[in-house]
Symmetry: C2
Subunit: 115 residues, 2 copies
DNA sequence: GCAATGATACAATTATTATTGAAATATGCA
DNA sequence: TGCATATTTCAATAATAATTGTATCATTGC
């Protein structure tokens, strides 16, 4: 995955309604949902939902296919996986036990305590 | 993790230099790097790097601690893990084999072929 | 204390993105 | 064909984020 693709995908997710849409579709799996159901679920107008769905599609995170008079959107598992891989690549210089094991318990000194 | 925290973290990553910084720090693990080394590595001005580092810190993705006259930034493994978990929660309605196994080979009909 | 280095804060400009409603397109069915 | 439903496009406005240079703060060593 290239940097600008990753940026596009992250920017697509960095919006409350789009993030809700994405997470909703993640739970639904490959079968997905029609756009109208999605709009209702995230309390968006048809126009707004369409805009956001297009952004997520353009980013490669979801995929819409027409199904009769509906357009059914589903998560793109490949797109999701590629993004997650890109974010975590070469974690801890080939010592991932630093991430998975020990470090999980390191006390953070950050201002952002919640994280 | 709350929605607005996730949006903040994703927005922080949705920027080329910040994404480069994050990935650089992911490879470095808990020891991290001084801000000046980071600025040089991603070809940012000191001012620019400081701005971006602050954004990532505010988002809970990295953590800066003063080390003499340097400020050393390291990835926040907790923050990273929480974000990834938030994105993939309840994947495929409790049938994650849809994500991990079969679905990996489903042919996508998306316009975005690369993803 | 003072100079040097590393890092941050501030403010102004510029660029990008979100939002909204009206109009247009696509499909299914009588 | 013509109507109803689902979805998208377009255009205008509003809101938000990025960029840059200057000034300021923090730490070390003389």
């Amino acid at each position: 995955m290239k940097e600008d693709q990753a940026v596009t995908a992250l920017a697509a997710l960095a919006h409350p309604q789009r993030l809700r849409i994405f997470r909703l579709l993640v739970t639904k799996g490959p079968s997905g949902l029609p756009a109208s159901d999605i709009a209702e679920a995230v309390e968006a107008s048809p126009t707004g939902a369409s805009f956001h769905l297009k952004e997520l599609d353009r980013a490669g995170l979801i995929c819409g296919t027409r199904d009769g008079r509906y357009v059914r959107y589903a998560v793109s598992v490949e797109g999701m996986r590629k993004l997650l891989t890109y974010l975590t690549e070469d974690c801890c210089q080939g010592h991932p036990e630093l991430c998975g094991g020990t470090v999980r318990r390191v006390r953070s000194l950050c201002k952002s305590k919640g994280a």
